[in-house]
C-alpha cells in the first residue's frame, strides 16, 4: 500500500488543489488561497493523516492493526484509544441497524464475488456456502473494551464502511487547525468542507452518474449555482452546493450479479448473508460530518426498497439512484 504515495499540486485560478491516491481512490484537497506554501503544508499534513489511517485500518495491508486483529482471531489484541473509538462507533451503527450493518460481515465476500455483469452465473454461490460463511459473521460475538479486542476463530473485521469517511473528518479537523482558508477534502467521493468559500460562496460538487467510470468530481471554478441540478436524467451529473458539512455516497452500480434476470447488488445483509433486495444503486447523503453521511447512506441502502422512505423520515437531504 505504499506504492504511488506522491502528491501533485495543481494551481487553479484562486485555489490550489493537492491530488494524491489513497484507499484505492483518487483523492483531492482544495484550499482557496494564493499562498502556495500553505497549500503544500496543508497537503502534506492531510496526506500524512489519510495514509496513516489507511496503514492502520486497511484490511488489505498485512501490516495494519486491522490485519493484526484478524490474523489473531481467537486471542485478545491490544488496541489504542482511536481504535476503541472507531469500534464504539461501529457498535453504535450495529445497534442502530439491528445488526444489518456489521463490520464483521466482510467474510461473506468469500462466498460472493461481485465482478459486474460478466460470468455472473459462475460466481453465484450455493445456499450452503453462504450459510457456512455466515457462521463467521456476528458483531455480537466480538468482545472489545478500551484495551483489547477479541475475535472468535475465523472471524474478520474491516473498517471499509467507516474508515474513509473518518479520514475525511479527521482531515477537516487538521485543516481547520492549520488555516482559516476554505478547504475541501475529497477522498474518492466522500468529502467534506471546512466552511463556505470566500465571500460566503458555496462549493459546487458534481456527483457523477455511477454508470460512468468515475465517482465524484469537485469543480471549484464551476459557475453553476443551483442547489441541485433538478434533472431526472440518470445519465447527467448532479451538482450539489455545499457551504458546510459533508457528503458521502454509498453503493456502487458496477458491482452486481444477475441471476434469472434479477439484479443482485453488492450490499449484503449481515444477518442472512444474501444481498439486500431492491436496494438503490447508490445513495448520497449530506450531514454535518462525513462519517454520519456515510453511515446514513449505508444504513439506508440496507433498508432495500424502503431506503428513500427511511431517509425521508430522518429528514435528511439525500439523492438516490436506482
Amino acid at each position: 500500500m505504499t506504492n504511488n504515495r506522491a502528491i501533485n499540486l495543481i494551481t487553479n485560478k484562486d485555489s490550489y488543489s493537492v491530488q494524491f491516491n489513497a484507499m484505492a481512490s483518487p483523492c483531492e484537497v482544495i484550499v482557496q488561497t494564493n499562498d502556495k506554501t500553505l497549500a503544500l503544508k496543508l497537503g502534506n499534513i492531510i496526506t500524512k493523516e489519510v495514509w496513516r489511517i489507511e496503514d492502520k485500518f486497511s484490511r488489505y495491508n498485512q501490516h495494519s492493526l486491522c490485519s493484526l486483529i484478524n490474523n489473531n482471531a481467537g486471542q485478545a489484541v491490544a488496541i489504542d484509544e482511536e481504535t476503541f473509538q472507531l469500534l464504539t462507533f461501529a457498535d453504535h451503527c450495529y445497534q442502530l441497524s439491528e445488526g444489518l450493518f456489521d463490520i464483521s460481515s466482510g467474510v461473506l465476500r468469500k462466498a460472493w464475488s461481485f465482478q459486474g455483469s460478466n460470468n455472473q452465473h459462475s460466481t453465484f454461490p450455493s445456499s450452503a456456502k453462504v450459510s457456512k460463511s455466515l457462521l463467521q459473521v456476528g458483531w455480537y460475538k466480538i468482545h472489545f473494551d478500551q484495551q483489547t479486542i477479541t475475535l472468535l476463530n475465523g472471524m474478520e473485521i474491516d473498517f471499509g464502511g467507516i474508515g474513509k469517511e473518518y479520514a475525511v473528518d479527521r482531515s477537516i479537523i487538521l485543516a481547520k487547525q492549520l488555516t482559516d482558508q476554505p478547504v475541501l477534502v475529497n477522498l474518492g467521493g466522500d468529502l467534506a468542507v471546512s466552511g463556505p468559500r470566500h465571500n460566503n460562496q458555496t462549493w459546487q460538487v458534481a456527483i457523477e452518474n455511477p454508470d460512468v467510470d468515475s465517482q465524484v468530481n469537485t469543480d471549484v471554478n464551476s459557475d453553476l449555482n443551483s442547489d441541485v441540478n433538478p434533472d431526472v436524467n440518470n445519465n447527467a451529473d448532479m451538482i450539489v452546493a455545499l457551504k458546510s458539512g459533508a457528503l458521502a455516497t454509498s453503493g456502487d452500480a458496477k458491482r452486481f450479479l444477475i441471476k434469472d434476470g434479477i439484479r443482485y447488488g453488492h450490499i449484503l445483509n449481515a444477518k442472512t448473508g444474501w444481498p439486500i433486495d431492491k436496494a438503490p444503486r447508490s445513495i448520497t447523503v449530506v450531514a454535518p460530518q462525513c462519517i454520519q453521511a456515510g453511515i446514513l447512506a449505508t444504513l439506508a441502502l440496507l433498508q432495500g426498497s424502503n431506503a428513500e422512505h427511511f431517509l425521508t423520515e430522518q429528514e435528511i437531504k439525500f439523492w438516490s439512484r436506482r
Binding site: 453504535h92 445497534q95 473528518d169 479527521r170 450531514a287 444504513l299 433498508q303 424502503n306 427511511f310 429528514e315
Partner: protein
C-alpha cells in the same frame, strides 16, 4: 425486510457518536446541534407557566425566545418574559389566637387576619416584563465569547444588567473552561416608599387627616438601589462517549438595599401576644459563594441528569440542592418521538444568622432581624413530570407538571404563651404547570 426501529433516534445517536469519535463537539453541543439547525434560520420557543401556592401566590409566566444562528457561527438570542403575580404572601408576623390588623405596605388601608391564621398580605400583585439579549461568537479556533444585556421592569422595580463570558475549548474540545461576569443595578421604589428599619407599623384610621404625615415618619425615602456583581468559573469535561461532567464556582457580591420592605416582625409580650409590628432590617451587603457539579449520562436511549449545588454566604445561610432528571424516550407510541421526564429536586437550607420568627418585648434589639421564612431553616422538595412530543413540522410540544413542598424547620426559639397554640412555621405547597412549544 426488518425495518430499523426507533427511527427518530438514529440521527441524534449518530450525531453524538460521531462527535465523540471525532472529539469535535461537547456532548451538550452535539445534542442541541441537530441537523435541522441550519444557519440563517430563526428558532422560536414559547412557554406558558403557571405557579400556584395553596392559599397564597399564583404566578403566570409567558416566555418567548428567538434564536438566530448565522453562517459564521454567531448566535443571537432574544428572550422576552412576562410574569404576573397575584395573591397573598406571608408578611412575617406570627399567627395569634386573636384577630390581627395590619396596614398595607402602601399605607392605603388595612387588612385583617383571622385568629390562628398565618398573616398573609393579599395585596400582592405585580407584572414583570423582562428582556434579555445575548450575542455569542467564536473569536478564534477554540475561543468563544458572549455578551448580553438584561432589562427587567416591574411596577416598583427596575433591574438593568450586563454580562460577558469567554469559553475556551481544549483537549480536542473534550474540555471547556469558561469564565463569566455579570453586573446588575436594581432600583426598588415600592408604593408608599421604603420603611425605616425597626420602625413600628402604623395601624389606625388611614382616612384621618394626620395619617399621611404619621405614615411618612416610618419611611426613609421613595427608592433605593442595590448592585450585584457575579463571577462564574466553569469547567466542562467529556468523560467518555456517554458521560459529560460540569463544575462551576460562583462568587456573588450584593451591595445596597437588601431588606424586604413588605416584611415585618411581631413583637410579643411574655405571654406571646403581639404588641407591635416592626419593619424588618437586613445588612446592606451579602457575599454568596457556591460550587456546583453536574453529570449527564447517556444510557442506550435514556439520559440521566444529576446535579448538586452547595451555597454559602456571610449571612450564614448554607444550602444544599440536589436536582435530577431522567429522560425516557417513548418512541412513536405516545405521540411522535415522545418522551417522559421525571424530575426530582431536594433543597435544604440553614437560617440566616439574623433570622428570628418574632421579637420579645423589652429584650435587647439585635442589629438586624427578619422573620422572612425564605431565609429561615427549611427543607423543600419538588417532584414533577414532563411529557414532550413532536407535532407537525417537527415542532416540539411539551407539558410539565410539578408539585413543590416547602417545610420550615422549628428555629428552636422558645414558644411563649399563646404562641404555643399557633403554627409558627407554616409549610408552603405549590403546583407548577408549564406548556412549551418550540418552532
Amino acid at each position: 425486510m426488518k425495518k430499523i426501529t426507533e427511527k427518530s433516534n438514529i440521527k441524534a445517536v449518530l450525531t453524538i457518536a460521531a462527535a465523540t469519535l471525532l472529539g469535535t463537539n461537547s456532548l451538550a453541543h452535539a445534542e442541541s446541534n441537530t441537523f435541522e439547525a441550519e444557519p440563517d434560520e430563526w428558532k422560536f420557543d414559547t412557554a406558558v407557566l403557571f405557579y400556584s401556592e395553596t392559599d397564597r401566590v399564583s404566578a403566570g409566566e409567558a416566555i418567548f425566545n428567538a434564536q438566530k444562528t448565522f453562517d459564521t457561527e454567531e448566535v443571537l438570542n432574544l428572550k422576552l418574559t412576562i410574569d404576573t403575580l397575584t395573591g397573598a404572601s406571608a408578611n412575617g408576623a406570627v399567627a395569634q389566637p386573636t384577630v390581627q390588623t395590619f396596614t398595607r405596605p402602601s399605607g392605603n388601608g388595612q387588612y385583617q387576619i383571622t385568629a390562628g391564621e398565618t398573616p398573609l398580605d393579599d395585596t400582592f400583585k405585580d407584572t414583570r416584563v423582562q428582556l434579555n439579549a445575548q450575542w455569542t461568537q467564536p473569536i478564534a479556533p477554540d475561543y468563544t465569547v458572549s455578551g448580553g444585556l438584561h432589562l427587567s421592569k416591574e411596577y416598583d422595580y427596575l433591574s438593568l444588567g450586563i454580562n460577558g463570558n469567554i469559553a475556551i475549548d481544549f483537549d480536542r474540545k473534550n474540555s471547556t473552561f469558561s469564565a463569566g461576569f455579570s453586573y446588575f443595578q436594581d432600583t426598588f421604589s415600592p408604593e408608599g416608599g421604603l420603611p425605616k428599619a425597626f420602625s413600628s407599623m402604623l395601624v389606625g384610621d388611614s382616612d384621618a387627616s394626620n395619617w399621611d404625615d404619621d405614615f411618612q415618619t416610618t419611611r426613609i425615602g421613595s427608592d433605593d438601589d442595590k448592585t450585584t456583581v457575579d463571577i462564574l468559573l466553569g469547567f466542562t469535561q467529556v468523560i467518555n462517549r456517554r458521560m459529560l461532567m460540569q463544575f462551576n464556582y460562583s462568587y456573588s457580591t450584593v451591595d445596597g438595599y437588601l431588606t424586604d420592605p413588605f416584611k415585618v416582625l411581631s413583637v410579643v409580650n411574655n405571654n406571646g401576644e403581639a404588641q407591635d409590628y416592626l419593619y424588618e432590617s437586613r445588612p446592606d451587603s451579602r457575599v454568596k459563594q457556591s460550587v456546583f457539579a453536574q453529570s449527564l449520562y447517556h444510557f442506550d436511549t435514556t439520559v440521566l441528569d444529576v446535579s448538586y449545588r452547595y451555597m454559602w454566604d456571610d449571612w450564614k445561610i448554607k444550602s444544599h440542592t440536589i436536582d435530577s432528571r431522567f429522560r425516557i424516550p417513548l418512541g412513536d407510541s405516545f405521540g411522535k418521538e415522545s418522551y417522559l421526564q421525571p424530575h426530582f429536586r431536594f433543597y435544604q437550607q440553614s437560617a440566616a444568622d439574623f433570622y428570628q420568627p418574632f421579637l420579645v418585648d423589652n429584650e435587647a434589639m439585635p442589629a438586624f432581624a427578619s422573620a422572612d421564612y425564605r431565609i429561615g431553616e427549611m427543607t423543600a422538595y419538588t417532584i414533577g413530570l414532563k411529557y414532550g412530543m413532536l407535532v407537525n413540522n417537527g415542532h416540539e410540544l411539551s407539558f410539565r407538571i410539578e408539585y413543590y413542598s416547602q417545610k420550615p424547620t422549628d428555629a428552636g426559639v422558645e414558644e411563649i404563651g399563646v404562641l404555643k397554640s399557633v403554627d409558627l412555621y407554616p409549610s408552603v405547597d405549590a403546583v407548577i404547570a408549564q406548556v412549551t412549544y418550540s418552532f
